[in-house]
Symmetry: C2
C-alpha cells in the first residue's frame, strides 16, 4: 500500500491509463469480437465456418462484427468467384499481430478456468 498511500497524501496525479491500450482492450472485448479474432487466428474462414465455430452468435451480429473488424483494419474480406460467389475472412497483419496477446489471455483463461468463473 505504500505508494497508494503516498499518492493520496501528497495529492500527486494518478497515472492515466494508456488510451491506446484502453481502446484496444475494449475493441477485442466487444461482445463476440474476441471469439471471431480467435477463430480467424487459426486461418481464413468462410462466413458459414465462422458461424459454426462460435455457437450462440447470430449471423446478423457476426456480419456486423466482421464489418467493424474490417473498419478497424484487423480483418480482410475476399470474394471468391463462383455461383453463388463465396466470401472468406482472414486477419490482416494488424490482426495477426494480436496473436501473442490472445495466446497469453488464453493461457491465463485455461489456467484459471475462466469460463466457469463467469458470473
Amino acid at each position: 500500500m505504500s505508494s497508494a498511500r503516498a499518492n493520496a497524501r501528497d495529492g500527486a496525479e494518478a497515472t492515466r491509463v494508456c488510451p491506446d491500450y484502453h481502446a484496444a482492450v475494449e475493441m477485442i472485448g466487444r461482445r463476440w469480437s474476441g471469439a471471431i479474432l480467435w477463430a480467424l487466428s487459426e486461418g481464413p474462414h468462410y462466413f458459414a465456418e465462422l458461424s459454426q465455430s462460435i455457437p450462440g452468435l447470430s449471423d446478423r451480429l457476426l456480419s456486423r462484427r466482421l464489418r467493424e473488424l474490417e473498419q478497424e483494419g484487423l480483418v480482410e474480406r475476399s470474394v471468391h468467384a463462383g455461383s453463388p460467389a463465396r466470401v472468406s475472412y482472414s486477419l490482416t497483419d494488424k490482426g495477426r499481430e494480436l496473436g501473442p496477446a490472445i495466446r497469453e489471455l488464453r493461457a491465463w483463461a485455461k489456467r484459471w478456468n475462466a469460463g466457469a468463473a463467469r458470473p
Copy 2:
C-alpha cells in the same frame, strides 16, 4: 485459403472457440474493466486514485466494476481504519497473472496506435 476451402467442402466441424478464452476476453473487455485492471497492475489504489487514473469513468460505474472484478476473484478490497475509513483495491494472484496478456495488448496497441483507429 486452402484449409478454409477444404473444411467447407468436406463439411468437417469448424474448431469451436475455447469457452475459457471467450469468457476471459469479454471479462477484461467489459467497458472500463480493462482500464481498471491496468491501473491496478501498477499497484494498489484508493478509490479516488482509481477514479483519477481513468478520466470519463463515473464513480457509480467504477464501484460497480470493482464489485464485479471482486466477484470474479481478480481484485481485493482492504479497509483501512481511520476516520473516515478508507478503502483500497489491489489485484489478487489471479488478477496479477493477467499481466503478460495486458502487456502484450498494450504493446500491440501502441505499435498500431489503437486509440486513434477507434471508429
